[in-house]
Symmetry: C2
Subunit: 191 residues, 2 copies
């Protein structure tokens, strides 16, 4: 029983103890080892994922063959490639476990059915996407406004646990820095 | 009567001719002249806007005092600063008409009431935000992956009418280019 998902749903809508097991039936639990892929570039993006434990990163492979991380999701975050998911088409991203991770996975058709059976969950997902979109508007601003050093300092200030948790080479990739330059910035900001 | 909003709602949920006038009552029509502000940096972001006619841009002012455009919205697009809107706090962005524009404006509290009276509109807004978030995930990828020239070429290929419509200095700002450099790229891409 995923008390965690129930708790998260209940932040937005009221879900009774009787209703929750029927909701959970639409989900599948997927356990991933560190660096195991949940979904791969070129595959149709069938599912949406709720992180129960651990951390997922989303990346694409650039022209030079380098993995470019664009996003992370930790506990209580939803993640998928939403364009590929919405149109049920091939994804340009891979989703991979950064550490040992457990997600609740829901298939596109299952989510459609779930929302028909429990229309009040439309409100929950409206909230989830509204906030995700809000955060992405701010992130866009930072990408225009901040130098890479400022981006790191901002990130470190607002998400300190995250900066400690994620391997430095992935954090560097996400921030668009080389690991060496990130290491320099870190030393400077500590001293 | 905004047939346009009705048509847009009906793409996702069924709205009857009887229901629509009650929905429209929650909105206010705002007409803007070219370069008129809809909302300003430092003001609490009270409202969410549906563009009926025209074009709105969203910008912040960077350290050098330069307006940096981060987003545009044309007909049938929703726009606001969603972080400031969600938490009813001061916005870091200005929303301004690029040309003569008409928007339907809905106040935060009015939208809450609207969604209580017509819960099926949760599905509509869930769709709106899901797609907006999906588009922003792809845009983030382009910002990592593309050179500024590639960004322009991609934009020109996928949104040709838009590139024709928006003043070049605003398009340059949005793409993070100088107007001169944009002009060079355009000449090169035409020849």
């Amino acid at each position: 029983m995923s008390e965690q998902l129930k708790h998260h749903l209940n932040k937005v809508v009221e879900i009774t103890d009787e209703e929750f097991p029927s909701i959970l039936e639409y989900f599948e639990t997927v356990k991933l080892k560190k660096k195991q892929n949940l979904q791969q570039i070129g595959q149709v993006c069938h599912s949406n994922y709720f992180v129960e434990i651990g951390c997922i990163r989303m990346f694409f492979v650039n022209e030079k063959g380098i993995e470019q991380t664009t996003q992370f999701a930790i506990e209580n975050w939803w993640i998928t490639d939403y364009l590929a998911y919405t149109f049920q088409k091939e994804s340009e991203f891979t989703l991979q476990a950064v550490e040992r991770t457990t997600v609740l996975s829901i298939h596109f058709q299952a989510q459609e059915k779930l929302l028909k059976e429990f229309p009040k969950l439309e409100k929950y997902f409206r909230h989830i996407y509204q906030r995700a979109y809000a955060a992405s508007q701010m992130r866009m601003k930072f990408m225009y406004d901040f130098s890479k050093e400022e981006l790191y300092l901002h990130f470190n200030k607002h998400f300190p646990e995250f900066v400690q948790r994620v391997p430095q080479y992935l954090l560097a990739s996400f921030l668009g820095l080389t690991p060496e330059y990130l290491s320099e910035i870190r030393k400077k900001s500590i001293s």
